[in-house]
Amino acid sequence: MTETTPLSHYVRSSRLDYQLRYELLGKALLRVQRWRDQRKLAGLRPREDSVLNPPLRCVAYMKEMMSRHYLEGRYANGVRKVAWVTSGAPAELLKALDFFLIYPENHAALCGVRRKAESLCEEAEHDGYSRDICSYGRTDIGAMLSGKTPAGRLPRPDLLLCCTNICQTVLYWYRVLAAHFGCPLILIDTPFLYHEAEAHQVAYVQRQLEEMVSVAEQVAGRSFSERSFMQVVDHSRRASELWLEVLNRSRHRPAPMTAFDGFIHMGPIVDMRGDPETTDYYERMLDELDERIRNGVGAIKEERYRVLWDNLPIWYKIGDFSKWLGGHGVNVVASTYTYAWGELSPMIDPSKPFESMARVYLHPILNRSTGHKLSSMQRMVDEFHLDGVILHSDRSCKPYSLGQIDQRDHLVQEMGIPALLLEADHNDPRAYAEEQSTQRLEAFIEMMEARA
């Protein structure tokens, strides 16, 4: 039972196409585009009429990296083996086997930022997928069924890798993908940690990681090398450490970047961790943040209130939120979401790649208890000197959202800071009410003012 739709929009490329259109022309054009972007960004001066300081210059590199990634994807089928993987999956193992990786969640977020998600969700809904399921899932299923994507074209997967450390939703979603594409699905099941991880939980994940090697080898048509795996793990560790440092730079006042910047700049750590260029990128970013700190330049011009964002971003509103909040002197300096890709870096040990990866992939914040998430938020409030917390109550992401009502109450009662539950959805704009949200945000800012 495979291929309920023709999926004719997935095409195989020849090696010549790949070399010509991607390696030669594509890369060169993107490099030229990056030079142009760099020149433009270097010439930007703070504008009188803007509440934000100019964007980070390194964004030109990030744009180039992400565009190159999706461009390679267009020509990957027939040249490289392709795997679609969940954002929290142990991608290092597949990288060591030279798979080209697509992260459907990241692709869905891209659709959200480009405001294409709603129409793609509708494509999925038209095919019978309920409006109540995760809007990332709907966006990607809509793209899969229609072939429409702002990325041009996605490569068809030879392998699916699903890790349940963010939610069970991804398994239902990947079962749908497996039925459509008729390719193998590797499941890495990660027991939810209500308390500290126990030995049998770590052993279970480790065993699954070890067992996935032979399936991945078969699809890849090559043998797994523990040496390359250790190298990838090492790059991954270094990139995660750097990402954590990047995020922690916002402890400075004024913060040199916003969490909204973080949402955009997390592309490489999600999609390309394990690649040496990701490490280079975050080194570059860190240098620029340090330069900003030395010069006392903040991401917003007048930082009066510092706020934590909980849960996924509202992708279609990132720009608007950043400006609107910045205009009210609010800098969202940290988020529990972006932290998820950095905070586990100390657990990564390239000398024990399987065991340490088992621990890492068991411990994302989404796989831990609601009480642990509250403690993380409380710690961040202290460390980042925060004045308030915005908890995005995300209609179609239940694992992240359930527990927020109590978390908010505890933040207010125990820390005495304003905390707002903001109803929306990460990718479906139909679940967002502009007027109501603005009113609630205004009231939230008033509460911070009253406390100041």
Binding site: M1, I133, Y172, V176, F192, S369, L402
Partner: protein, 360 residues
């Protein structure tokens, strides 16, 4: 006499099992190790809502986009409905129950311990090994609650009783076409396994009369988590249809095949992992389609009614593919969602009625 009138009330059962030296555990949906609880001198009473409890207190802790099972069970807990029990067991069925278990343990902090059980989503050797270890961990928690550690005889007794009840449930489904029971009575009997002791359930199942089944007309198969309220069955019968088979979490999805392993934990793991295809356990859609198709053919079901609790994500993802593949096999599908209450909404009934008409 309606089956419901023959059943002992939960309160009386709690008193009776306490008299037998057992403690009582409230269990949320839906796969869990009955024999293990019994060996550790614990008796499960399941909580599926309940439908008659208002959402109010649950809504103070969970958003409106949470399913009714979680909202109502939380209300039930906060209204004192679980006061008589000694522990609460929340199996990891879905993200919503994960949230409920975590919020309950971390923030609501009831007097009773909150136990959890992670059910692996595969059936590989690694899943089996993990589940065995997870059951051993749960057993440790059970021993703390009851103060009892089972010996060989306790395990033998527990398996004998619970496996007999499992066989009784399986045989109820086999005998369904011959049972002189309305759909409501049949499902009242099936669901009495949620609170009766294994012996009482076995006795009830054996006593059900055979003869001409009262229902006639269009045969439906019912799929979903739970068919509430029971009035649904009466309304379906009034439409000229009857339920000939189900794929319900509170029904057939818990017909576990027997297992022969000598180690008690391995035996329980084998049974749980061999349950019929089930989206909450991440079963491949192909397996579900094949199982539904063959059971619909065997039972003479003419259509599949998917009756889902609103906001139940595990059930929702499979629907388009189930619909396509079953329709291709000449088996129409209707999907309706409901909010759990004491009556079935007019809108839901109208849609079911229209579906039945197309099948007639």
């Amino acid at each position: 006499m309606p089956i419901a009138d023959r059943l002992t009330a939960r309160k009386a059962i709690i008193e009776r099992v306490r008299g037998l030296g057992r403690k009582v555990v409230a269990v949320l949906p839906f796969h869990y190790p009955r024999a293990l609880l019994r060996a550790y001198r614990l008796h499960p009473i399941e909580v599926w809502g309940p439908p008659n409890v208002p959402r109010d207190k649950g809504s103070q802790h969970f958003q409106a986009y949470t399913c009714d099972i979680v909202l109502k069970a939380t209300s039930f807990l906060l209204r004192g409905g679980m006061d008589p029990v000694d522990a609460i067991l929340v199996p990891h069925t879905c993200d919503a129950l994960q949230g409920m278990a975590s919020v309950t343990a971390d923030f609501l902090k009831p007097r009773q311990p909150v136990l959890t059980l992670y059910l692996p989503r595969g059936c590989r050797d690694s899943d089996r090994a993990f589940l065995i270890a997870e059951l051993r961990r749960l057993a440790g928690c059970c021993a703390e609650i009851s103060g009892h550690k089972p010996n060989e005889a306790d395990w033998a007794e527990a398996f004998a009783a619970e496996e007999a009840a499992d066989r009784a449930l399986a045989s109820l489904y086999q005998r369904r076409p011959r049972l002189a029971l309305s759909d409501r009575d049949f499902y009242t009997a099936v669901r009495s396994r949620e609170f009766l002791t294994a012996e009482d359930f076995g006795e009830l199942a054996a006593s059900l009369p055979e003869g001409d089944p009262p229902a006639d007309g269009v045969g439906l198969m019912l799929s979903g988590i739970v068919a509430e309220p029971l009035e649904l069955f009466d309304r379906i019968n009034e439409m000229g249809a009857h339920v000939v088979a189900d794929d319900l979490a509170c029904g057939y999805r818990r017909v576990y095949p027997p297992a022969a392993e000598s180690d008690p934990f391995a035996r329980i793991a084998a049974q749980l992992l061999a349950c019929p295809p089930d989206p909450t356990r991440g079963s491949p859609i192909e397996q579900r389609v094949a199982a539904l198709r063959s059971r619909m053919r065997e039972s003479g079901a003419q259509g599949l009614l998917i009756y889902d609790v609103k906001f139940c994500e595990p059930e929702l993802f499979d629907i388009p593919l189930l619909r396509k593949h079953l329709a291709a096999a000449g088996l129409p599908v209707l999907h309706v969602e409901f909010e759990m209450g004491m009556t079935v909404s007019r809108q839901v009934l109208t849609r079911i009625e229209a579906f039945v008409e197309t099948l007639q």
